[in-house]
Amino acid sequence: MSLLGVDLATVLELGQDHLLLAGVPLLVGLALAIPLGWLATRRGWLYPPLVAGTGLLYTIPSLALFILLPGFLGTRILDPVNVLVAMTVYTLALLTRTVADALLSVPGHVRQAATAMGYGPARRFLAVDLPLAVPVISAGLRVAAVSNVSIVSVAALVGVSQLGSLFTDGFNRNAMGPIVVGVIGCVVLAVLFDLVILLVTRLLTPWKVSAS
């Protein structure tokens, strides 16, 4: 089977690579952003440096980061690890602020009620603060997911194969077909990420369903 002159099996294989390169950093970035965001809200003076610091990382253009990382990590330039690390950096850059702001958006009286009911700091964070922060974190995660899918395709320029490889392939052969297939693949993947995040958010915030 082929699609606009591109073998469907190839598209699926590239799509799978793309999914991993964009998805794994999303999870790792979230896992790192939660403690960082928590730290920023617990120690007020840490908020500006943490949020501004991670924000600065996001200003580095993707192609530059893909090329610079091998110099820091000691990896080869074609190594997909560079892309994974770069995407984790971008996810972290977007989510640290989101997590901090989400935790700050938890109403004070709710936290006080939890404390009054005998919740310790750790249990209150896991059972009260974090669940209530889920909607805001999920909104940030959706932005990060879509942006990751788009940025990963640039890695085709440093020879890491994923849907973006269809762009370079099509451009080199002066063929529009593969490029269009690649763009559609990226959009489909972005929508897929979005739906999964929405679904998980709904499962994590059962009290929201009846409200909306």
């Binding site: 908020y47 253009p61 879509v146 002066n174």
Partner: protein, 243 residues
């Protein structure tokens, strides 16, 4: 890394048409032109949508959908479509610049529109009550109040432009991206990494300048004072400041 430093400090790389200063200037020139064109489209549109509330759903969805479209793919499509139809030197620059403008419109548009929309209705009503005409309300109340978010949108649009202009070296656009792409073609890692450092520096520097401009034009009445917090003041920042 020592090789990268050697490349960066080699005087030969700092002179001539393909030298670092010339390419940095070219990069900046394309980026500023694209940003101005994008603002020309997005600012009036954002003001209109924010002020009237018309076309809000369309604006939000278009801005969201555009984020999902990969810039590299759009760039290649634009070049394949437009290159055969254009002549002269413009043929190599125009497709890239069109894409740069296209990619910067959504962030600027949503920044301006969101900025106008979040203006305190009480401030708007007070302005009406004082006898201001609708355009006076827009110019003297809504726009000043919208500046922090609007400039945030312009800053993220500019970052998008600088990043994409780097990539556009692959389709022949000048600028610092040349070192990354040309270096790769001859497997010269010091040149690639040196160019990448310069691109990162250009992006950070430009964002810093726009950040300072933001601090200069946003009314202190909105940011609640000066200092670090003033640069990115939001309601949440202020809540944090109160503890």
């Amino acid at each position: 890394m020592a090789d990268v430093l050697a490349w960066l400090t080699d005087p030969a790389n700092w002179s001539g048409q393909g030298g670092i200063p010339a390419q940095a200037l070219a990069h900046l020139r394309y980026s500023v032109i694209a940003l101005l064109l994008a603002c020309l489209v997005a600012v009036p549109l954002g003001l209109y949508v924010g002020h009237t509330g018309r076309g809000r759903v369309v604006a939000v969805n278009i801005a969201g959908a555009f984020r999902a479209i990969p810039s590299l793919g759009v760039l290649f499509i634009a070049v394949l479509l437009l290159l055969p139809r254009l002549r002269g030197e413009l043929a190599f620059e125009a497709p890239s610049i069109i894409v740069l403008v296209l990619l910067a419109v959504p962030p600027v548009l949503s920044g301006v529109y969101a900025g106008i929309e979040q203006v305190d209705p009480a401030a708007r009503d007070a302005a009406h009550g004082m006898g201001m005409r609708p355009w006076q309300v827009l110019a003297q109340v809504e726009v000043p109040c919208a500046l922090p978010l609007a400039i945030a949108g312009i800053r993220s649009g500019m970052l998008q432009i600088i990043a994409t202009a780097t990539i556009a070296a692959v389709v022949g656009l000048g600028g610092l991206g040349r070192f990354l792409i040309d270096g790769q073609a001859v497997r010269d890692y010091p040149q690639m990494a040196g160019g990448a450092l310069l691109v990162a520096a250009l992006a950070l520097g430009t964002d810093l300048v726009l950040g300072l401009a933001q601090r200069a034009v946003v009314s202190p009445g909105l940011t609640g004072g000066t200092g670090l917090r003033a640069r990115s003041a939001t309601a949440l920042d202020r809540r944090l400041a109160r503890g």
